[in-house]
Symmetry: C2
Subunit: 248 residues, 2 copies
């Protein structure tokens, strides 16, 4: 609810009033070095869509790859559906973060992406981006860094899943959200989680009961204040200690 109130746009607002120049998140998804002239060019190719409803699909697994997307407000999850119809969430994306890279390899998206709440996203047609990057080396280098960053965060997450306990996983997730809130210049201590317990447990490879119990324990120990999806970090130091092997 309160996560997107400050960047909310009404459907009736003309889309051309929404642009990168005025976007609060552009410092995250765009190269800092880019000059005004170049920003204008980039802005021309980006489609700023109307707000998405909660659960609305941005792209589906198996459909042709056309664009990558940046979250402008709200939040997005991406996931596989494996053959036996089991959903596996592979990422949550917050304002300023970019998703959809998985479509490039096979010319079709390998995951499905949906809005977790009322959200708006910027669609960046990939062919246009390729053209633009031919003339603007800054853009090209930034794109490479963004993709590499996705690889890094996926691999960090692999390390988390393979080696960490339920408590370490959940503490890491909360701290990750906290950091990403800070980058958005929003409170890093008072968080509102846009996803359900089912989605958290799926993402972390746990059950809802375990997630609920770990939240309960962290609450009891005065590390977090947890009330449904509202989480307040009371003791960041101790929370960080919990993410290390020694810290428990």
């Amino acid at each position: 609810m309160d996560t997107n109130s400050t960047t909310q746009h009404t459907p009736s607002q003309p889309t051309n009033l929404i642009n990168c120049q005025t976007c609060r998140m552009s410092n995250l998804c765009l190269p800092l070095a880019i000059d005004a002239q170049e920003l204008y060019k980039l802005d021309e190719l980006i489609r700023h869509s109307n707000p998405l409803q909660p659960r609305e699909t941005i792209f589906s697994s198996g459909t042709p790859f056309t664009s990558i997307y940046a979250v402008r407000s709200g939040s997005v999850k991406s996931f596989f559906i494996d053959p036996d119809n089991h959903e596996q969430i592979t990422g949550f994306y917050l304002p300023g973060e970019i998703f959809g890279w998985d479509g490039i390899a096979e010319d079709q998206y390998q995951t499905t992406a949906i809005a977790l709440e009322t959200s708006s996203v910027c669609e960046i047609p990939y062919d246009k981006l390729e053209q633009l990057s031919d003339t603007l080396p800054e853009i090209k280098r930034h794109v490479m860094k963004l993709i590499s960053r996705e690889i890094n965060s996926d691999q960090q997450f692999i390390a988390l899943l393979a080696g960490f306990s339920a408590q370490q996983k959940l503490a890491s997730l909360i701290l990750s959200f906290s950091d990403r809130m800070a980058r958005q210049k929003r409170s890093p201590t008072r968080l509102w989680l846009p996803m359900s317990r089912i989605e958290i447990s799926n993402y972390l490879g746990l059950t809802i009961e375990t997630v609920s119990r770990v939240f309960g324990r962290l609450h009891k120990n005065n590390i977090l204040k947890v009330n449904k999806r509202e989480v307040e970090i009371l003791d960041k130091k101790r929370l960080e200690n919990l993410t290390t092997t020694s810290g428990n």
Copy 2:
């Protein structure tokens, strides 16, 4: 041992005799469409190193990013060392596969990569690759697909770690190796695993005992013939069934 015997080069052989034109793996790491002229240009920038000894380091976490690498023969593992000095393997790379993309984002490698056995790798200086891709759009598009493929396989692996049992994980790993052997035109049923049980268990988020027991069970059920690092797939159908949720 036998995994790299056919592509072994002696240290005394001049490196300029090793090139992409004659590489058995070039159809995997290079675009199929590339013409002879272009291949020649690409070949000029690639450094074909002398064979690496088992355990020899290719690059280390934290050192400046200069190049990406393709496995020519042998095999490579990449891994993090987290603050509490615990190693977490993030990938195994076989001939024709490319690694090192994680260095782009921060201009330094985030992982360490070492040879698992006597191996040779092709070093591709990233700045040269960028220059070349400016003039050869085919190369540029291929590079993007390769990176995207790394994202896809990382995300597939996330799904494996988060949702699968020990048996499903191990069955998936064996089948992955089998597929990758087939791509190399090598036997997809008689495998020699280049990594130890410790490395397998670390990668899959299990213990060595569990890996050993699951191998034992698959052996007893006549699905695999397992003897240390030699694995023969006896019943591929049943092995595939084990990777689905329904299949057990």
